[in-house]
């Protein structure tokens, strides 16, 4: 299946050139957005595999926001610049915006660069998902431990029954264990 590309560029002439280059490289250009478009709606509603944007576009801020919103289904963003600016390339890649900068108008290099960008993006996403998971688990475990400690101290429970009490509260209220633990801690703080 062809990769679907969304192109964001206020410069209409250049956008036309890029579109041709993308087609020649066997990509499907599903949308070209100029400065008057409802970029937010289009990005959210259009199914695309990769977004190609001018580094100098003011819409970068909008795209960055969208990528933080759609943590579950982020899209790789490839940035292109007229000048091959290696430090910005570094910045973009390290920022994990999945970004990569095409040096302006050498369209022949478009395909390998897009490929690398998408691969990097997937790697980064996998890494971040793993990191988020670990971090959440760790944080939740800490909260649960603390709530257990409170119950043990205040109600004279042993560790196992404190855990059972928390689990029962969670089940009764249809909440996650960590949420119940958090409310136990909050209530205790209020009473202190």
């Amino acid at each position: 299946m062809k990769l679907r590309v969304m192109l964001i560029d206020d410069n209409r002439g250049r956008a036309a050139l890029l579109q041709q280059a993308l087609r020649d490289a066997n990509y499907e250009v599903v949308a070209i957005l100029h400065d008057d478009a409802d970029i937010i709606k289009r990005v959210q509603e259009t199914t695309v595999d990769v977004i190609l944007i001018d580094l100098e576009s003011p819409d970068r801020d909008t795209l960055e926001y969208l990528s933080t919103l759609n943590r579950e289904s982020p899209k790789p963003i490839v940035m292109f610049a007229e000048n091959d600016d290696s430090t910005i390339i570094q910045a973009a890649i390290k920022a994990g915006v999945s970004a990569y900068v095409v040096d302006g108008l050498s369209y022949k290099r478009l395909k390998p660069i897009m490929k690398v960008a998408i691969a990097r993006f997937r790697e980064y996403q996998a890494m971040r998902a793993e990191l988020d998971k670990t971090r959440n688990q760790l944080a939740e475990r800490k909260v649960i431990e603390r709530a257990k400690g409170i119950l043990m101290k205040q109600k004279g429970m042993d560790e196992a029954s404190a855990y059972h009490a928390l689990r029962k509260m969670a089940m009764d209220r249809n909440l996650r264990l960590a949420e119940v633990a958090e409310s136990v801690i909050t209530v205790t703080q209020l009473l202190e």
Partner: protein
């Protein structure tokens, strides 16, 4: 000086004025600096270019050096500010259609100034009752995720019981595109700096509900942000830059100089808006509605008086409190330690002393206390300060940051208060 040829970044907004005045008015040159001002298309560009040293420094949102230091939505790199460029200057504008709905929903609330979000709350509730999903039917825009505008707009909404993450949809739109997006109906309202509120009023497209001055009197807005590394390797250059900006701000704060400044700013390579629109907020007045006369509003944009250029660490901590409130920060940070690292009043005082300008001797001050101007005596000479009230009458005590955070019933906090308390024991 370690370096005399500098490139500083700015965004086309009225409050890039201190940089433009320092250049056009010869204040940089007076300090031996040859400065190129680079107009940048996005805040992300500003952040990345300062981060990687393509810019020596830049106009930044007051919250940005904090966000960049913490690595929110990007790379973490220590960034500092020793200079606040201005206070206030933003407003919340809505489309004519939404304005009519607000008037109909709660005419009394709309006549009471400052205008609360109570009418908006009623409109949202009515939409919900009619089965409409407000997350898609009510869209407001800000200019950057971790922006002063974002936190002001959220504060205003939440004060009226609106949850900005559940009851409306918040999006990011670059400032120069706000007016066209509002006109196209893609967004229903926005919070932005000038001239993009006046532009909507001038064209008869939008109505201003409230300025950020009325949300938090004399709220810090833009700062001069530089890399910590850069500041450490260019201490003399940094001081020269601060002296030039201080002198420029002092000049800019004189009403008789504002017209000249507006003329410089209107040029296409700076803000690129018509002089007529630039004048609407630069000459001591502000116009809320297309069919209304401009209102006197001397403090709409403050560039120097009230110790406006001083980087209060307590105000940095306030921004951090809002980042925690809305889940932008997801770890239990030591709020004060971050504020101390990023906001550098020590460097400001050095520059002010060299020019014989009075500076505060404290790094922190409470907010939400003063209803009118007052005198700060803990200063090298007494300083007349501005009001500092919040629209909901709340007060902010930088000594009790976690309690302040705990007081917000509407929030999207992702760090447990208990963990924050532990990290903020000092």
């Amino acid at each position: 000086l370690e370096k005399t040829q500098l490139t500083l970044g700015f965004i086309p907004l009225t409050d890039c004025a201190p940089l433009v005045v320092a250049k056009e008015g010869g204040f940089f040159a007076q300090q031996g600096l040859a400065v190129t001002l680079s107009r940048e298309p996005s805040w992300a560009n500003i952040r990345d270019k300062v981060l990687f040293g393509q810019l020596d420094g830049a106009q930044m949102l007051a919250s940005m050096p904090l966000a960049t230091t913490l690595g929110i939505n990007g790379i973490a790199k220590p960034t500092i500010t020793a200079f606040n460029l201005d206070l206030n200057g933003n407003a919340i504008t809505v489309s004519n259609a939404l304005y009519q709905r607000l008037l109909a929903a709660d005419p009394v609330a709309m006549q009471t100034h400052p205008v609360s979000a109570q009418a908006l709350k009623k409109v949202i509730d009515a939409d919900k009752a009619a089965g409409k999903e407000c997350m898609t039917c009510m869209t407001f825009a800000v200019v950057f995720p971790v922006s002063t505008h974002n936190y002001a707009l959220r504060y205003w909404m939440a004060a009226a019981g609106i949850h900005p993450d559940k009851d409306v949809r918040l999006v990011v739109v670059p400032p120069p595109k706000m007016v066209t997006q509002l006109q196209a109906g893609n967004i229903h309202g926005y919070c932005v700096g000038e001239p993009w509120n006046s532009q909507a009023v001038k064209l008869g497209i939008g109505q201003v509900l409230i300025t950020n001055y009325e949300i938090w009197n004399n709220m810090p807005e833009k700062v001069l942000g530089v890399n910590q590394e850069w500041a450490e390797s260019h201490p003399q250059t940094h001081q020269a830059m601060l002296r030039a900006l201080l002198a420029a701000c002092q000049w800019l704060d004189q009403p008789e100089n504002r017209l000249t400044a507006a003329q410089w700013l209107a040029q296409p390579h700076y803000v690129g808006a018509s002089l007529e629109v630039m004048k609407m907020s630069m000459l001591g007045t502000f116009q809320y509605h297309p069919d209304q006369q401009p209102q006197p509003f001397a403090d709409f944009n403050v560039f120097h008086r009230y110790a406006a250029n001083f980087p209060w660490r307590s105000q940095a901590a306030w921004f951090l409190s809002q980042m925690l409130r809305w889940g932008d920060i997801d770890t239990a940070i030591d709020i004060r330690a971050v504020a101390q690292q990023v906001y550098r009043p020590d460097l400001y005082r050095q520059a002010a002393a060299a020019l014989g300008i009075a500076s505060p001797q404290l790094d922190e001050k409470p907010e939400g206390i003063q209803a009118t101007t007052w005198t700060l005596t803990a200063a090298t000479q007494p300083i007349t300060m501005g009001a500092d009230q919040f629209l909901d009458g709340n007060s902010y005590d930088p000594q009790h940051l976690v309690d302040y955070l705990a007081g917000f019933t509407i929030h999207r906090r992702s760090v447990a208060l208990a963990d924050l308390k532990k990290a903020n024991t000092n």
